[in-house]
């Protein structure tokens, strides 16, 4: 009787086991496809090239060229403007320093809005790198400051105005906490962010004692007619949702020798910028001859942003 059964060959599969196996496999594939379905939407937000891009410091010049062309294409598709994206490198023998005259600042917030326009910051939700804080005379207690002042006209009697932006510290706490090294200080003193490498953990925002970093909680919106087409990779290229950004001393302007936008627009001449390694620069004179102080000196960040007084 046993001999009557057809002999089972090693490679043959019974009908039952085939059906069972193939059904399970089909179900598995279907479940996986369903599970990965949200990734299809990812393709609209991020291209494969962008997804696989290396860290800024590991990009070879030819890779960087491709990246810049890719960004130009993306900006043109999204905003209808052909931008000019470049990767500006730091100059030799240059270290930037910013000085701000608290005696002259009137708190008009022109710098804030010039910065937003220059650096393609999101208008809604509004991201502003500079925060002008109205402080009562006679104190530097930040708890008494008000960034939301809205009087008929400024300056108001009994107050002074203190614009705060990224201080480009020499000992920056923000770069130390970054788990992926997406932010670092360049040789010319500007702390930059590789927007492509940032994972959006916001550790740096928490570490900054000056509240200088901003996070894109949602996809930034910029009106098409307000795009600044002069862009830099580490500076004002449009950012995506989920990355940090902050003041970078207008890298696309300062690394070609121009003044930052906030300085250009200041009606009172309170803002001074230059190369501290040049002993004849305006900032060198200020640091030598004026009463200069740095904000929150006690935290040991060694800012490159100085406040000073006349008198």
């Amino acid at each position: 009787m046993i001999a009557n059964r057809p002999p089972e060959s090693r490679d043959s599969i019974s009908r039952r086991s085939f059906l069972r196996g193939s059904t399970a496999a089909a179900a598995g594939v279907a479940a996986m496809a369903a599970g990965l379905a949200p990734l299809r939407k990812l393709g609209e937000a991020i291209s494969v090239d962008e997804f696989l891009q290396q860290h800024y410091k590991e990009l070879k010049p030819e890779d960087m060229d491709k990246v810049l062309r890719r960004i130009e294409g993306e900006v043109e598709r999204q905003y209808g403007v052909r931008p000019h994206v470049r990767d500006y490198k730091p100059m030799n023998g240059v270290e930037y320093v910013y000085a701000l005259n608290l005696t002259r600042c009137v708190g008009c917030r022109k710098c804030v809005h010039a910065c937003v326009a220059e650096n393609n910051q999101s208008r809604d939700p509004a991201i502003q790198y500079i925060q002008v804080i109205k402080m009562p005379n006679g104190t530097f207690d930040m708890e008494k400051g008000d960034a939301h002042y809205a009087p008929e006209s400024v300056p108001e009697k009994g107050f002074f105005y203190m614009p705060v932006q990224c201080h480009q510290c020499k000992n920056p706490p923000c770069t130390k906490v970054c788990p992926v090294k997406a932010t670092w200080t360049e040789p010319d003193g500007i702390t930059v962010i590789d927007y492509n490498w940032c994972i959006g953990c916001r550790y740096c925002e928490a570490a900054c004692p000056y509240f200088a970093r901003r996070f894109n909680f949602s996809e930034p919106t910029i009106p098409k007619d307000q795009i600044n087409p002069e862009m830099s990779y580490l500076g004002n290229q449009p950012r995506h949702k989920g990355v940090m950004e902050k003041c970078h001393f207008c890298i696309q302007r300062t690394r070609v020798g121009r003044y930052p936008a906030c300085l250009e627009v200041c009606p009172t001449g309170s803002r001074k910028f230059g190369n501290i390694l040049d002993p004849n620069s305006e900032v060198a004179h200020i640091l030598r001859e004026k009463r200069v102080f740095v904000l929150k000196e006690e935290v040991g960040t060694l800012p490159r942003f100085f406040y000073y007084f006349d008198v």
Binding site: K110, V112, A147, H148, S153, R258, T268, G269, F273, G274
Partner: protein, 267 residues
């Protein structure tokens, strides 16, 4: 044996009396001029707030036509979309609403004043009376408490287009910073080194020009105080637990909100 108390007591009393007398004589000294309480001072009008930071002459503005590239407009305006200067039927400039407060700089005294020694009228309190023809054209507000209003402190009495410092040096309008320097020495020193005033253009002068604005670019010589400015919008108030709501802040918390919570915190 006690020390001689009479002598030291006598000396101490003498010294106390001496110093008291000195103090009294200092307070009542006739050399101390009384502080001048001028009722006119309280009437001083604060200039209306302005959105304009630009001061130019009418000739410059008219000559620019549509192209304002010679002017300092691009601090706020986009260089690629220059503002148009609208001219009325009679050739006068029609200012847009945002610049309704713009005061044109006058630099053409000799257009009306031909060479002739001029006189100014004085009011009873010693103030210069503003000539009627200038009432709408010139601010009269130079000096703390607007006391430096005598035309001939700066202008030549026989030729208004010429500037004269107190030591008699004659200067043209283009040399105006030197006139300012004759009184405002420390500020001029700061300006020369770039610590005061606006510098635009290039910080790296090997790559482009740094444009140092002179005194008149920001200060109206007839009323040099920087006028009140309407501030641009602040950051969007965040609705946060414990902080005031976005609605109340938008209704103009601003100056009324005293000693508020630490709003300086990041967005």
């Amino acid at each position: 044996m006690s020390p001689p108390p009479d002598k030291s007591n006598f000396v101490m009393t003498g010294l106390i009396v001496l110093f008291l007398a000195l103090g009294v004589s200092f307070v009542f000294s006739p050399d101390r001029a009384p502080v001048r309480q001028d009722p006119e001072l309280s009437k001083l009008v604060t200039p209306a707030p302005t959105t304009a930071t630009l001061r130019i002459t009418a000739t410059q503005l008219k000559a620019s036509g549509g192209d304002a590239s010679i002017l300092d407009c691009y601090a706020c305006h986009d260089e690629k979309k220059p503002p148009t200067v609208k001219l009325g039927a009679d050739g006068s400039i029609v200012f847009p609403k945002e610049h309704a407060d713009l005061r044109l700089m006058m630099a053409n005294c000799s257009a009306c004043h031909v060479d002739k020694k001029l006189e100014v009228e004085y009011a009873k309190n010693g103030d210069v009376v503003m000539p009627k023809a200038h009432a709408d054209l010139l601010a009269m507000g130079h000096g703390r408490n607007n006391r430096n209003t005598n035309c001939f402190n700066c202008h030549s009495q026989s030729k208004l287009d010429e500037l004269v410092t107190r030591d008699g040096t004659k200067l043209t309008f283009a040399q105006a910073p030197l006139l300012c320097a004759s009184c405002h020495g420390p500020t001029y020193r700061d300006w020369e080194l770039g610590m005061h005033g606006r510098t635009n253009g290039y910080w790296d002068t090997s790559k482009g020009k740094a444009v140092r604005q002179d005194c008149n670019a920001c200060h109206d010589p007839h009323g040099p105080a920087i006028p009140q400015i309407i501030p641009l919008a602040g950051p969007k108030p965040v609705l946060t637990h414990g902080l005031r709501s976005a609605a109340t802040a938008a209704e103009g918390g601003g100056p009324k909100a005293e000693g508020g919570p630490p709003k300086a915190a990041s967005q």
